[in-house]
Symmetry: C2
DNA sequence: TGTAATCCCTAGTAAGTTGATAGGATTAAT
DNA sequence: ATTAATCCTATCAACTTACTAGGGATTACA
């Protein structure tokens, strides 16, 4: 299941991407429009800023803005920051790999075989979709 | 993330599918061989029996056995029983659909659009893979 | 008929995660 | 100065997960 955090984060990014004005977009505005608890959204946007997706401006008339082209923000990258691993088991994760305790040889594990396929297909979708696609 | 429950369930099904003897396979044997806590595995196999994947024989020399051809046991079906919805958000789930609180029109939701694609690709993999593929 | 082996069933529980909320510090425009 | 915004830390209730405990019911076999 996708966490609310990720869902809210994606919606907020989409909202910012769609705003055509040059002015930074305020958390309060996004929260109200997308029905997201404001304080929760604050922490999410902070994460997105710290991981290089957003820039921010403090103080009055402050807010958040994109610092990359929408076409350069891949869903794989966003998901990994907000949700963590994309793979369904750590032993098939590219970025968060961990060995299983119970498998002697993971190449003989039926679950491993299956989850590799799921991962590859999911990755393909998430790599092909950028924020441009979400906002478009 | 795939739960241990599902992972253990899949491993157990694979183990049973691979056992060539006609005799039912015992929980203790699977647990030992696959390094799964026995009591936990008991409850998982019980679930699989109640949902029609396994039959069981009680008493001495009892155990579990498949009641369908391995080629007829689709991963979608197993996953739905052990893990629940395959979709990452309820609003794109075929079998566990729920409307989002925060979306007025889900066809305009960027997350919805993306997750439909993920779901379709995952479903394809899970439908194409049967227990025969896992055990083979 | 007794006993050991096996599945069946219900309850409980510690640890971790999620989805927030609270309260304020800091910064910038007016 | 005042106001409006981001920034930061701490806290917390509810839920989920991954078990564990304790036994009941059933069957094979001596």
């Amino acid at each position: 299941m996708l966490s609310k955090k990720t869902k809210y984060g994606l919606k907020a990014l989409t909202y910012i991407a769609k705003s055509d004005s040059d002015a930074p977009v305020q958390v309060g505005e996004i929260a109200k429009s997308e029905k997201i608890p404001q304080k929760f959204l604050e922490s999410i946007l902070l994460t997105l800023r710290k991981s290089g997706f957003l820039g921010s401006k403090k103080g009055k008339h402050g807010g958040y803005y994109l610092i990359k082209e929408t076409s350069e923000i891949k869903m794989t990258d966003v998901l990994r920051v907000l949700e963590g691993p994309i793979a369904m088991v750590p032993c098939v994760s590219l970025n968060f790999y961990e060995k299983c305790d119970d498998c002697l040889d993971e190449h003989e594990c039926s679950v491993h075989k299956l989850m590799i396929q799921v991962r590859d297909n999911t990755l393909k979708v998430l790599r092909d979709n950028t924020l441009e696609d979400l906002a478009g």
